[in-house]
Amino acid sequence: MVEPRPVLEARSLRKSYGERVVLDVEELQVMRGEVLVVLGPSGSGKSVMLRILNLLEEPTHGTVSFDGAEVQGLKGRERVEVARRMALIFQDPLLFRGNVEDNISYGLRVRRMHAAERARRVSEVMELVRLGGMGQKYIATLSGGEAQRAALARALAIRPEVLLLDEPFASLDAPTRRTLQEEVKRLLTDLGMTAVFVTHDQEEAARLGDRIILLKDGLIEQAGRPRDIFYEPKSEFVAGFVGFDNIYQARITCTEDGLATLEVDGHELEGVCASDSGSLVKVGIRPEDVTLARMGDAGAGSARNVLNGTVSEVEFRGPVARVTVACPFPLIALITRRSLEELELDVGVEVQARFKATAVVVIEP
């Protein structure tokens, strides 16, 4: 069996501006056909990494290989030759003056593609991104979603071997963002295209990535399949970033058959854990794994952890509410607005918070 070969590869990659190191990655591989998501907060070095991969910036140290050949530091014609095998989409559509068609055909025009072939390719890609019939529209008249579709079409038109996307949906409203995420996912799958997708949005990362690397201060904090990142975070930072709103310092007081009793702030919790008794660990609980009930309501069911407390804060986030319960340590639960209304929850109401032992994830063994 032939080993899959990375189409893009970086080794000992470091980028610094003066004294400030913004990127320090030992190894990065992008396999052909995969969607690699680079996740991280602002200033974590994600965009710099993308620009280095696209040969728009040179690394301070290290190598970048495209299809097995080292390409960092290439200049002039040689740089253009390699760069033309990739395309980058920025957060803003950055459309050029003119109409949609002018924009989509840009990459083909700089490649001096024959007019007839160019027209065919443009019309094909416009259908692909659902911009059919809008070729003559001036870019100032496009909506945010249409503009980003045009930017996507402009990149896809050149049929890049690797598509690089730098938070392409970050400036769009939520419904448009979701629609475009779905469309891009469909396109990447249908075209079997290799992509590096940079985002700070964990949901977007989970939705699109075959593999995720999480960057913090220019360093890879964790890399793996989405499942690994989202359910087995290796650090408090990763856990916090991928949605573990409840993170506590805990002491394992007893273990039996893989089930551990953990002491958090004087309260006992049950969790699934392989660590030894007496060890200090960090544990995380996703807020969506916590359910709330009014005091005296039906039993806990299979939930191994039942904590009594008082609602100390309610924060609305669209169709869901983020409820903080003082148990007495703060425990955050994510419930629907409808549940909140039916349970008549408000600040000061006494509630029972429940979550299963499997919801308690040990972060730092």
Binding site: L56, G76, L94, L95, F96, G107
Partner: protein, 246 residues
Amino acid sequence: MESILNAFKEAFWLIVRFDPDFYRIILLTLMVNGIATLIGAVLGIPAGVALAEYRFPGRKPLLVFTHAMMGLPPVVAGVFFVLIFGRSGPLGFMNILYSVTALILVQVVLAVPIIAGFTNASLEDVDPRIGLQARSLGASRLQSTVVKTREARAGLVAAVIAGFGGVVSEVGAIMIVGGNIKGQTRMLTTDIVLNMRVGKSEIALAEGLVLIFIAIIINIFLTRLQAEKGRDVAETKGITGAYING
């Protein structure tokens, strides 16, 4: 008030009676300023683009020099011109002093820094990511510079308008290098000065009105050129994110 009315009447008569001397002056003014602006644009726009887009040794001093030259007193330019092209100057053998060529050359010297300076500012204003975007789509360095220059087109037209404005209102330098010779190097501005000196203020005022008229017509033409691309100006705003959400 009466003198102003008389000036209008005089201007009207000057135009309708097709005085050959007067029309020669208008034609020379249009030709010298037109050619100087054109050459100024041909030299100034690429210079402004290069100063904005490329990093080369001496770029910063050159930029400072360009900005300084934008405010160069025309009389000083005229004096330098005479020193260089005068009979005893290093280029005196060219024998161009007091000729139309001299008028055009000195106007070019005045127009180039203005056009280059404004072009440079317009390009600096374009989102730098536009150039990166072009390069990421396969453009060479030069091709991405063309994209950025196109994005700055409204600013470029403004640069040419400013350049034309600079030369059309000019009097000191062309007086010195042209000598204000009747039928040869006499232009509207220098003739105005002359008429004022000899007390023909009505003719001077009339010529002033004609000059303003010419400036307005040419500016309308250039502004139309800019306005036609006004769509594109809106687009330029669009690219940085000011979209109509729908």
